[in-house]
């Protein structure tokens, strides 16, 4: 007998038959999704379709009840070790930024590296400044989040995730809470990240961004993945009527 060779999964994220209920409400129905290393997936769909819930299941902000979720080959279970292992590989950017208002920008960025990773303060600050430069706001390091514009806050939030050097970044409508003139400064940072090969799952209705970076488009409705494919197929010839209707609505304005 030859030793069994475990083929190491090349998938960064793998969801198989994931189901989730909020009480009796079936919010996710048989979700299958795989995201390769370096791949960018854009999820869109009407409000309440379950986009946030899918993304939040990937780093256990929500618990799924059926199916399997793997991140970098590690299965997400109730074992706190598996949750911690997966969270250390997955960063998340929220619609509402969720910066820590009582800490400076620099402290927001160094908290995780120092407390969760055991880095020294000077190491963590050097890393924080590096990523603040990447998002073009090193000069704001000593300010509090409340003193920054929305666009700046979201860029700080992206830098905070990057400071944990995750393999995967999740974005849940990162530009929906922003004034129109600030959307592009955040999208520009995300495009750069994408070009550098970060694995990204992005919930957004910014279809210009999607066309530019997406390798895979996912359309959700009522807890299901209704349509899934390359941006060319997706925008060129959407098959399902629900997706066609959604796209015509969203591309109108």
């Amino acid at each position: 007998m030859s030793a069994q060779i475990q083929p190491r999964s090349t998938q960064a994220i793998e969801l198989k038959g994931v189901n989730k209920w909020f009480g009796t409400f079936h919010v996710l129905k048989n979700i299958d999704l795989s995201v390769g290393l370096g791949e960018k997936v854009v999820i869109c769909g009407p409000s309440g379709s379950g986009k946030s819930t899918v993304v939040r299941c990937i780093n256990r902000l929500e618990e799924h009840q059926e199916g399997t979720i793997r991140v970098d080959g590690v299965e997400l279970t109730n074992d706190p070790k598996s949750v911690a292992a997966i969270r250390s590989e997955v960063g998340m950017v929220f619609q509402q930024f969720n910066l820590f208002p009582h800490l400076t920008v620099l402290e927001n960025l160094t908290l995780g590296p120092i407390k969760a990773r055991g880095m020294t303060r000077s190491e963590a600050e050097a890393r924080a400044m590096h990523y603040l430069e990447r998002v073009h706001i090193p000069e704001q390091a000593r300010k509090r989040p409340g003193q920054l514009s929305g666009g700046q806050q979201q860029r700080v939030a992206i830098a905070r995730s990057l400071c944990m050097e995750p393999k995967v970044l999740l974005f849940d409508e990162p530009t929906s809470a922003l004034d129109p003139e600030m959307i592009s400064e955040v999208l520009d940072v995300m495009v750069t990240l994408a070009e550098e090969g970060m694995t990204m799952v992005v919930v957004t209705h910014e279809m210009g961004f999607a066309r530019k970076v997406a390798d895979q488009m996912v359309f959700m409705d009522a807890g299901e993945i209704v349509e899934q494919g390359s941006p060319e197929e997706f925008f060129g010839a959407p098959r399902s009527p629900r997706c066609q209707k959604f796209l015509s609505q969203i591309l109108q304005h």
Partner: protein, 253 residues
């Protein structure tokens, strides 16, 4: 402080003409040797009142937090532990609890083969801390719940564990909402410490009672007693306002 002097003025005036009236302010007239001795006797209870209150408050602040945390859990079992403790302790009137702790608890200790005597001082401290902890727990719970869920989620996504999330993210923000009601509870403890007189603790109220028995001047002596509590409470209030101002400037800085 000005208010206090205004209140004290008429009393001083009355004490001056005590001999020619039915008032008996001479019992606490600092100008006469007898009055001065009485005042010293009454005021020397201040130390015990303060010590009992401070120790009870510190214990209550610690126990309250320990009781509050399970109340914030997602698991129903933990929340139940919190509810049972709070509802049970909150429903016991202070005096019966004091009797139970002072006269009853030593019997339990003896049955368990422990030689832990409970003197009036510790009887009062334990009772006040226990009784207050149910209220402190509710204050913590409300304060922590007032911090947006996104803060906990952001902390989790940068790898902080439960205690780190509480310590570095939630409590520093919640403390501003927790502190004012906690200060109210401290004032409540100071006032309730008067019950310690019932089990023989020679604090402010007990001393006033003892003097009334020998001098038979209840109005004058109890008036002074009330003023003693007033001074204590005013000092605490001033201290809390100072603390609040300091923390307020912290946030802006």
């Amino acid at each position: 402080m000005k208010k206090l002097l205004l209140l004290a003025l008429p009393i001083l005036a009355l004490s001056g003409c005590s001999s020619s009236s039915t008032w008996g302010w001479y019992v606490i007239n600092p100008m006469t040797p007898g009055g001065w001795i009485n005042i010293k006797f009454l005021i020397s209870g201040m130390g015990d009142t303060i010590l009992i209150s401070v120790i009870a408050a510190v214990l209550s602040i610690v126990v309250g937090l320990v009781v509050a945390l399970p109340g914030l859990s997602k698991k129903r079992g933990w929340r139940l532990v919190n509810r049972v403790y709070v509802e049970f302790i909150r429903s016991i009137p202070l005096l019966p609890m004091l009797f139970w702790v002072f006269y009853g608890l030593p019997i339990i200790f003896r049955e368990m083969g422990l030689n832990i005597p409970i003197d009036p001082f510790w009887g009062a401290v334990i009772t006040l801390a226990l009784s207050d902890s149910a209220f402190t727990a509710e204050i913590y719970r409300a304060g922590i719940q007032s911090i947006a869920k996104g803060q906990t989620e952001a902390a989790q996504t940068i790898g902080l564990n439960y205690l780190q999330t509480m310590r570095y993210v939630i409590l520093p923000q919640a403390i501003r909402r927790i502190l004012p009601p906690l200060a109210n509870q401290f004032i409540y403890i100071v006032k309730m410490s008067a019950f310690a007189s019932v089990i023989g603790m020679q604090e402010l109220t007990r001393r006033a009672n003892e003097l009334v028995v020998t001098e038979y001047r209840p109005l004058e002596i109890y008036t002074l007693l009330i003023l003693e509590y007033l001074v204590l409470v005013l000092i605490i209030s001033a201290g809390v306002r100072w603390l609040e101002r300091r923390m307020g400037s912290d946030e802006r800085g």
